[in-house]
Structure formats: C-alpha cells, structure tokens
Symmetry: C2
Subunit: 196 residues, 2 copies
Amino acid sequence: MSGPTLRSDALRTRERLLEAAGDLLEMRGPAFTLPELARHAGVGTATVYRHFTDVADLFSAFESRAIAALVAAIDEAGTAGGARQSFDRICAIWIRRSVRESAAARFLRSHRGLLERYRSGDPGIVALIGRLVATLEALIAAGLLPEQDPVAAALVWMTLFDERTTVDLSRIHAWTTRRITDYLSAAVLGALRATA
Amino acid sequence: MSGPTLRSDALRTRERLLEAAGDLLEMRGPAFTLPELARHAGVGTATVYRHFTDVADLFSAFESRAIAALVAAIDEAGTAGGARQSFDRICAIWIRRSVRESAAARFLRSHRGLLERYRSGDPGIVALIGRLVATLEALIAAGLLPEQDPVAAALVWMTLFDERTTVDLSRIHAWTTRRITDYLSAAVLGALRATA
C-alpha cells in the first residue's frame, strides 16, 4: 500500500512545486533559484532537488505540463460539428489558456525550433502538432483551406499563437480575449489560404 | 589624438567580442561565461568586463546590434518602386539575414513582448516597427491591404518572421531561403488581408 501512496504524495508535491514556479515566474520572471522555489512552495530544499536537478529542468517540466494540459483540453473539446468548428474551438481554448498563463509561459519557450523538437520526438510537441495537423487536414478535406504541407501549416499556426504576442495584445494593446482569438484565428486562416 | 583612437579601438574590441559571442552561440548555445568569451575572442578577462557587465548584458547588446543591422539594411534598400516592392525587399533582406544569423539570434529573443518593448521606447524595436508600419501604411494606401491597426499588423509580421521558425524551415524542413521568403511573405499578406 505504501508504494502508490508515496507516489501520489510525490506527484502532489511535484504539482505544488510547479504551481509555485508559475507564481514566481509571473511575479519575478525566470531569475530565481531552486532553494527560493522550495521556500515559496513551503517544502524543504532537499525535496525540491529530488524533483528537479536544476532550474532548467524545472522550466522544461513546467512547459511540458502546460503543453500536456493544452492537448488534454483540445481532446476534451472533441471534434463535433465539423472542421471549422473544431478549428475555432481549439483557437478559443488555446488563446484563453494563453492569456491566463502566458505571463509565466513566455519565459520558458525553448530555444529549439518546434519542428526540431517534433522531429526529435518531444512528446508534448508531437501530441500538439498531431492535433493541429488533424484539424488542418480536416479543413483541407472540407475545402476550407487549399492543399498544403500540414506540418508547415501547423508551424505557422503555432508561430502566430506565440505566448508573447498574446501577452502583448492582452496587456499592452488591452484587447479582450475574444478579440485576440478572432484576430489571430483569422490571421492563421488568411496566412494558410495565401501560402499554398 | 589619443581620445578618438582609444574610442575606435574600444569599438573594434567590442565588435570583436560580439562576433565571438555569435560564434559561441552558434556552436554551443547560450551556456558560456564572459571569461570563456574573452578566451575565445583572444582578449583579457578584464577587457570583456569593461564592455559587458554580465552575459545578459552581452546578449542584449548582440540582439540590439542585429536589429540595428536589419534596420540599416532596410534603409539602404530604399523605397523605390512602390509599396509591394518595398514589402518584398524587406521580407527578402530579413529572411536572408535570419537564415544566416538566426542560429545565434534565436537564443537571444527577449522574454518581453515586442509591443511592450515598443511602448517602453526600446530604440531598435521602435526603429524596426517604424519601418514596418511605414511599409504597411503604404500597402494600405495602395489598396493592397485593407485598413487596419498598423502596429498590430507589424506585430503579426514580426511574429511570423520569428527566428526559430526560419531556422526550422531552413534546417529541419530543408527549404531554400527563397522558398522560406515566398512562404512567409505570403503568410503575412494573407494574414493581414484576413484580420481587418
């Protein structure tokens, strides 16, 4: 019995550390140490080092968790109602999460390109690009987008949905989440109608 | 006489350090120290600290220099031949520089949003957005783009021209510079026709 309990305790602690990391990123940016994270999360320093080898490892875990949560939300939303509705739903989910969380997430984005990570089998990026490619292929099949390389198209979509752009439009341009979603969704479709 | 000479010596050293920083970024990514940079550039450690307080300061100088060089190249290309030709020229210059240099530049992009930096008066970003806005306003005046917020439009352009995307399409997708330029230029115009 103690195995599963210990493991779920460890998962809860890890989750608590990742939540605390999000707070610190939002408040102070990426310049904090693992002992500071431990203090902020109310756990011992040794505990934080059992979960993360260094700050880079923590940030990578934080980003993976955000991508996994986005993929889970996309899957939960389902594909009812046709290609265009699926596309609009994914855009709305993504921008909503992005406005809420990207103040932290923008500090984490990898130096590596998305295609580079896709080709190297990064699980979160593979899952996310898989969902986007399926949606784009449905738009193409429905005649709503011209035939094109769906992986390059997914890259354009992800590039336009850059966290820093969402933060800019939300905080600096003071646009609503709805307006950002409409603007960037239209930009993606317009771009992909023109590139083919 | 010694004043100007000293100053131009200092500028040459600074340039040599920034060139060496580009080499190190390309070869090893952003994980190096100022003493390592000094060794790589063949100057003393004290010299490197006279030019840069820390690695973050070095990276900021490197990025500013890249943006200033892009703006200078845009200005040198001029505005002959109308709005569409100006737009195409800027895209070609930008992507060519980006393919050549972005292996280093992608490590440097600020966590701060572009609009945030524009509003705070970051000189390079103000200069670059100024050139893009002028080009977009000429496209709008020529009827090649619908009326729209030119600063938001410049943000879409800069977002689509993200260094990591260029690196991805060049290195991972193995596209030529010409193909990347045509694809991303069409994406910008398509996006901005659709968002208005």
